[in-house]
Amino acid sequence: MSHMSTLLEVSGVSVSFDGFKAINNLSFQIGPAEMRAIIGPNGAGKTTFMDIVTGKTRPDDGRVIWGEKSVSLLKMSEAQIAQAGVGRKFQKPTVFEDQTVHANMLIALKNDRGFLASLLYRPSNKDLARVDELAGEIGLSDQLDRLSGELSHGQKQWLEIGMLLAQEPRLLLVDEPAAGMTLAEREHTTAILVEAAKTRAVVVVEHDMEFVRRLDCKVTVLHEGSVLAEGSLDHVTANSRVIDVYLGR
């Protein structure tokens, strides 16, 4: 494992909001085809970490290095970072509610992002086939013509994951995908994410320990903006500080 190249390297990153240090000298690495779970108490900085990687929040300090060419993500706009291959699912499901599932998928599908290209765009057979294929993967094949606002909470989460996959990102950041899902829905979500991590890096933030266990991957524990522990789930859950700040509550 130690010789595996890194896709994303975050080092020494700090950010504070009005003097409050939300992220404190955080370092984090992930390889090109790896699954990683991030856990930690509320306010630990998990979402803020994703904000930094995706360009939404600019850190006060530190470096965020991406890909084989080791480019810095800090100089890029959100759109450029997304185009470089970082996909993100928000904590609260965000899909375009007054548009069909199909239209949502088409927006997300990896294609030229320029406005002229979008204006002249007509879905190719390949694109339509890809949408069908993805809809199958996320279990929404028979929902394609529905307005996405009419979907159940779980279906919206899947749609958003499907949109991420349609972007064909190299790194997927997934914030609390299982929140509000039934057990069966959670299992389906696990399957989608595990499948995705075979070909790309996937970072999952989740509070639900059972869910994390099923992901069966390395775990990073965040606390007060820095890494408290890292390793297998059994390893970190045996850590006394982790038990103190997170599990014990």
Partner: protein, 388 residues
């Protein structure tokens, strides 16, 4: 499987058919070509209304579809009017000056003609030279190009500054009002080069055309109907495909679109600029029918009315914008034109000229609170009834 955007959306064909029928009926009933049921001045009112519908379509694109409440699109409308007005006024004055100078024995030099035009047009603001911005006024093709280029360029520069700094929501609306106010104040100045508060007048006369107003009014009416039809088609096409999906996405959740890799600012700027150009064209057709344009037309309140029309008609659907602008502006003409009968209450007489704006304001509040889909929402109810 893959249909054209018109097949997918039958309301486009229905709208175009209604527009064509309306144009035909007005033509047949007009004084210029037909039965004379409709006076020439009312043909002009209807033609102007079509132009207002066109600028409302533009407003719907930027507000209803993209979610940017611009309160400055009437400024672009006015600029379009000024650009065509410059040629109309210059060319007509030139013909008059040439004719007047032809009376003398020696043929006039070009300089004499130019200075004659200058003092004719700018005498009212105490000047006799054509300002630099009138350099192209002698050329119809150039001024026609400016009808789209000037509003387009202003929108491009203003939009680039505003969107790049991520100004959104109510702040953006205020900024567009400030832009409109600044433009109006500039135009009010005597040395603006556009005749200050006199504005440009006599625009109803087409230079070198001997046909009467009964004919000319019809030409402009047709041109307005054509522009509205084409503008509607363009807007329907823009909103139908992936681009339409993206701008509605920007309206509903800007950051989602951004994290999908789209440069939201570029999309906003594109819609802002395109709609400013459409507004410019609408204005260029409107003011020759109005006959006069002055800075009061560009006043910030006009752009607010535009938003009110679209809200009342139902934003986010193109026919809603057309219905709103058509209905409200015609009713407004009726009330403020003195045709509406005053209501004597004994102790007080309701004069519609004064009360109309209050009524309009109240309907705006009522629509916002109770029928956010506007008049267009009625069609949804109808559809639902039929589906039952």
């Amino acid at each position: 499987m893959r249909q054209s955007f018109i097949q997918k959306n039958p309301s486009i064909l229905i709208f175009l058919a209604c527009l064509a029928l309306f144009t035909l009926l007005v033509t047949v009933a007009s004084e210029g070509f037909g039965l004379g049921f409709i006076s020439t001045s009312f043909v002009k009112t209807l033609g102007k209304t079509l132009c207002l519908c066109l600028v409302a379509v533009a407003m719907d694109l930027i507000w209803g579809y993209t979610g940017i409440l611009s309160l400055g699109h009437f400024a672009f409308f006015g600029l379009g009017g000024y650009m065509i007005g410059m040629w109309l006024m210059y060319e007509r004055t030139r013909l008059i000056v040439v004719e007047a100078l032809a009376q003398s024995d020696i043929p006039p030099t070009p300089e004499e003609v130019v200075s004659g035009i200058g003092s004719q047009i700018f005498g009212v603001v105490g000047s006799s030279d054509s300002p630099l911005i009138w350099s192209f006024a002698h050329s119809l093709p150039l001024q026609l190009a400016l009808v789209v280029l000037v509003p387009g360029l202003l929108a491009l520069i203003f939009g680039w500054l505003a969107f790049r700094s991520r100004v959104t929501g109510v702040y953006l609306s205020i900024l567009t009002q400030a832009m409109t106010l600044a433009l109006a104040l500039y135009l009010f100045q005597n040395d603006s080069g556009l005749r200050g508060n006199n504005g440009l007048s006599g625009l109803q006369n087409l230079p070198g055309v001997s046909a009467g107003q009964d004919q000319v009014s019809l030409w402009f009416f047709w041109a307005s109907a054509l522009a509205l039809g084409l503008g509607y088609l363009l807007a329907a096409w823009i909103t139908s495909g992936k681009f339409g999906s993206i701008i509605r996405g920007i309206r509903d959740n800007e950051s989602r679109v951004r994290f999908l890799g789209y440069s939201v600012e570029v999309y906003k700027l594109a819609v802002f600029t395109i709609t400013a150009m459409i507004a410019g064209i609408a204005g260029a057709l409107y003011y020759p029918q109005a006959g006069i344009i002055n800075p009061a037309e560009v006043a910030p309140i006009a752009s607010i009315y535009l938003a009110v029309w679209v809200a009342i008609g139902g934003r986010g659907r193109l026919y809603g914008a057309v219905i709103g602008a058509g209905f409200v502006s015609l009713v407004s003409t009726w009330f403020t034109g003195g045709q509406a009968p005053d209501i004597p209450l004994g102790f007080y007489t309701i004069k519609w000229v004064d009360w109309w704006l209050i009524l309009l304001g109240l309907s705006f509040v009522a629509v916002t609170l109770f029928a956010p889909k506007g008049i267009g929402g009625l069609f949804d109810l109808l559809k639902k009834e039929r589906a039952k």
